[in-house]
C-alpha cells in the first residue's frame, strides 16, 4: 500500500531580516491511508509548519511532499487550492466558521468551490450535519451554537467533500475537557469509518488518542511510532536526563 502522505527530507526556512529560521529540518515520514496520526510538539517545534505543508497551505523550501502520489511542491497556487478542495478537510482550533452564513451554507462552502450543483450541495451538507448530530439546527447561525457544536459544524464541513485526509489543528484547544472528549471520540469514529485523520496538537493527553504519534522538536522528528509505547509521551532528551516530564 502506497503512502497517502509522504515527507522526504522536507525543510522549511523563513527569512526574518538577516536571520534564517529553520522551521522544518529534513523531516521525513509516511502516513498511510486509514491511519490516525497525531503530530505532537511544543510551540516552535515545527508542527504548525508541518500542518501548513500537509494542508497544502504552504510548500516546502527543500525536499519533497507527495500527497496521494502528487508532488505538491511543484504546484502553483491555483493547483494547491484545487488539491485543498478535493483531498483535504480542515478542522481548526477556532472552528473558523463564516458568521453570516447558517450551518448548511457553512458546510456547503467546499462543495461550491468544487462546482457541485446547488440541490446536491444542500443535501450533502444536510447529511453531514446530521452525521455530527446537528440535523435539527440547519438554519442556525454559528453564533447561536456552543463551542462544541461549532466544532462539530466544522467537522461536518471537513467531511462533506469526502476528502482523503482530515487535518485537525488543535481541535480541542478552545473547548472544555468534556466537549473536547466528545470531539475526539467523533474523530475516532471517523477513523473507524476508514478516514485518514491527522491530528496536530501540543497536548500529549490528546495525542495518545491517536494510533501513532510523530513527535517534533526544533523542526526534527524525535519520535515516530505507536502511541502506546512509553517513549511516545516522554521526549528522549527528557528521558535521558531522567526528568520524565511530559512535554
Amino acid at each position: 500500500m502506497n503512502a497517502l502522505i509522504e515527507f522526504q527530507d522536507v525543510c522549511k526556512y523563513y527569512h526574518m531580516g538577516d536571520t534564517t529560521v529553520v522551521a522544518a529540518d529534513h523531516i521525513s515520514f509516511q502516513i498511510r491511508k486509514g491511519e490516525f496520526v497525531a503530530i505532537v510538539g511544543s510551540s516552535g517545534s515545527g508542527k504548525s509548519t508541518c500542518m501548513n505543508i500537509i494542508g497544502c497551505l504552504d510548500v516546502p523550501s527543500e525536499g519533497t511532499y507527495l500527497l496521494d502520489g502528487r508532488d505538491v511542491g511543484q504546484m502553483n497556487k491555483n493547483k494547491l487550492a484545487e488539491i485543498r478542495n478535493a483531498l483535504l478537510g480542515f478542522i481548526f482550533q477556532q472552528y473558523n466558521l463564516l458568521p453570516k452564513l447558517n450551518l448548511v451554507e457553512n458546510v456547503e462552502v467546499p462543495l461550491i468551490y468544487a462546482g457541485v450543483p446547488r440541490a446536491e450541495r444542500r443535501e450533502r451538507a444536510r447529511i453531514a450535519l446530521e452525521m455530527v448530530g446537528l440535523g435539527d439546527k440547519l438554519q442556525h447561525k454559528p453564533s447561536q451554537l456552543s463551542g462544541g457544536q461549532q466544532q462539530r459544524v466544522s467537522i461536518a464541513r471537513a467531511l462533506v467533500g469526502e476528502p482523503a485526509v482530515i487535518l485537525a489543528d488543535e481541535p480541542t484547544g478552545a473547548l472544555d475537557s468534556k466537549t473536547g472528549r466528545e470531539v475526539l471520540s467523533l474523530l475516532q469514529e471517523l477513523h473507524a469509518a476508514g478516514n485518514t485523520v491527522v491530528l496536530i496538537t501540543h497536548d500529549n493527553s490528546i495525542a495518545v488518542q491517536a494510533q501513532r504519534i510523530i513527535r517534533l522538536e526544533d523542526g526534527r522528528v524525535v519520535y515516530d511510532g505507536p502511541s502506546n509505547a512509553p517513549e511516545a509521551v516522554v521526549t528522549p532528551r527528557a528521558a535521558g536526563t531522567g526528568g520524565g516530564a511530559s512535554a
Binding site: D58, N78, N85, N96, K100, V109, P110, I112
Partner: protein, 395 residues
C-alpha cells in the same frame, strides 16, 4: 463557482450591512441623479428652443442689408426682383422695419413691438386675422396710415374693440384695421401678442431705409440650396459679400442646439466627477471590507477557493453596490426631473419638460457598474493575493 453564486453572496453581504452600503453608494447615487437631471434639463431646453424657433418658421431666411453698396443701393424693389427671378428657390418676401419707440393710445403710452411689413408677412408667419382685415398691397403702395394690432393691445387698451380706433406711432396717427388672433397662452405685456404691424412703406417714412427682409422658401428640405441661390443673387447685385448677411432660422436653431448640447456636456461632466468620487468611496469601503474579512478569505482559501473566485466575489460585490447605487440614482433622477418640470413650468410660465433620455439613463447605469468594477478591482486583487496562512490567523 459561477457568477450566480458570487452574485447571491454579494447580495447577501450588501443586505447584511444596509447602512454602510447606502453610505458607500451615496456618491454614485448623487452623481447618477445629477447627470440624469442635467441631461434631462438639456433635452427640455433643446425642445423648448426648437419649439419656439419652429413657431417662428423654419422655412424662412432673413436678409440683412448692412450698408449701402459701394456702387449700388439696394431698394425694396430689387429684393422683390431677386425673389421673383428665383421663384424656384424663393417664395414670399416681406421687408421688416422694426420701429423702436412708444405706441400712444390716447393718453397712455406703451412700448410694443412695432414692425413695418408687407401684405405677405402674415402668411409668412402664419398669423391669422381674427377681426377686421390684414394689410393689403394697396396699403403698401399708397403708404396708408393703417395698422394691425396683436390681441394684447386690443384687449388691454381698446377693450377688445380696437378696429376703427386710432393710435400714434412715431408721431404718425394710425387707424387700426385689424386684430390678430391670440398667439401665446396668456396675454401679457412684452409677450407675443404685444405687437403692432403697419405697412413697411409707412414705417420707412418714420425710420428711413428698409434694411431687413424675411423670405420664405417653397420647400424647407432645400433650405440650404435656397439660401445659396439668394446669396448668389445678392453677391451679383453688390459684387461683394460685405454688405449683406443671410441667416436661416434652422441654422440658428442648429447653433442654439449645439450650444445647449455643449453646455449640457460640460455640466454633466462636472456631475460625473461625483461618480468618480463615489467610485473612490466604494474602493475605500471595499478595502476596509477586505481587511475586515481577511479571516473569511483565509477560511475560503483553505476550503479550496482559487484566487480568481475570491477576486470575482469582491469585484461582483463592488459592481453590485455601485449598480444598486446607479438604480437608486436613476429613480431619484427621474423624481427630480418631474419636480424640476413643475418648478420650471410654474416659474417661467413656459412648458419646459425635463425629460431624461433613455440613452443617458443606460449610460449612467453602465458607468456606475463600470466604476464598481474599476474601483473594486484593486481591493479584490488585494483580497485574492492574501496568504491563506496569514489570513487564517488574522484577528
Amino acid at each position: 463557482m459561477n457568477i450566480l453564486e458570487s452574485l447571491s453572496l454579494a447580495v447577501k453581504n450588501i443586505v447584511s450591512s444596509k447602512t454602510r452600503t447606502l453610505l458607500t453608494m451615496l456618491g454614485i447615487i448623487i452623481g447618477v441623479a445629477a447627470v440624469i437631471v442635467i441631461v434631462g434639463l438639456g433635452n427640455g431646453l433643446e425642445g423648448y428652443v426648437s419649439d419656439s424657433f419652429s413657431s417662428m418658421g423654419t422655412n424662412t431666411l432673413t436678409v440683412m442689408v448692412l450698408s449701402r453698396g459701394s456702387t449700388r443701393t439696394m431698394e425694396v424693389e430689387d429684393v422683390y426682383g431677386i425673389v421673383a427671378e428665383n421663384s424656384q428657390y424663393l417664395d414670399l418676401c416681406s421687408p421688416t422695419v422694426s420701429l423702436s419707440g412708444s405706441v400712444k393710445v390716447g393718453a397712455d403710452t406703451t412700448s410694443s413691438s412695432v414692425t413695418g411689413v408687407s401684405e405677405d408677412y402674415f402668411s409668412i408667419q402664419g398669423y391669422e386675422v381674427s377681426r377686421g382685415r390684414g394689410l393689403q398691397y394697396s396699403d403698401i403702395a399708397t403708404r396708408t396710415k393703417v395698422c394691425v394690432v396683436g390681441a394684447y393691445l386690443d384687449q388691454a387698451y381698446f377693450g377688445g374693440n380696437a378696429v376703427g380706433q386710432t393710435l400714434r406711432v412715431g408721431g404718425q396717427s394710425l387707424t387700426i384695421v385689424g386684430v390678430l388672433e391670440q398667439q401665446a397662452g396668456e396675454l401679457e405685456e412684452g409677450g407675443a401678442d404685444d405687437c403692432l404691424f403697419l405697412p413697411y412703406s409707412t414705417a420707412s417714412r418714420i425710420s428711413g431705409r428698409v434694411s431687413s427682409y424675411v423670405v420664405t422658401v417653397p420647400d424647407e428640405d432645400f433650405l440650404s440650396e435656397s439660401k445659396a441661390a439668394l446669396e448668389d443673387a445678392l453677391y451679383e447685385f453688390f459684387e461683394s459679400d460685405d454688405f449683406y448677411t443671410v441667416t436661416s432660422m434652422s441654422e440658428m436653431l442648429e447653433t442654439m442646439t449645439s450650444m445647449i448640447n455643449l453646455l449640457v456636456l460640460v455640466l454633466a461632466g462636472i456631475a460625473a466627477i461625483s461618480l468618480v468620487v463615489g467610485g473612490i468611496g466604494i474602493m475605500n469601503i471595499m478595502l476596509v471590507s477586505v481587511t475586515e474579512r481577511t479571516r473569511e478569505i483565509g477560511i475560503r482559501k483553505s476550503l479550496g477557493a482559487k484566487e480568481r473566485y475570491i477576486m470575482q466575489q469582491f469585484v461582483i460585490e463592488a459592481a453590485c453596490t455601485s449598480a444598486l447605487g446607479g438604480i437608486i440614482g436613476i429613480l431619484i433622477g427621474y423624481g427630480l426631473s418631474a419636480a424640476a418640470t413643475r418648478v420650471v413650468t410654474s416659474l417661467m410660465e413656459a412648458t419646459l419638460t425635463v425629460s431624461p433620455s433613455a440613452g443617458a439613463v443606460a449610460l449612467a447605469f453602465g458607468i456606475s457598474v463600470g466604476i464598481g468594477i474599476l474601483f473594486g478591482y484593486l481591493p479584490a486583487k488585494k483580497a485574492a493575493a492574501l496568504n491563506p496562512i496569514d489570513a487564517l490567523h488574522y484577528d
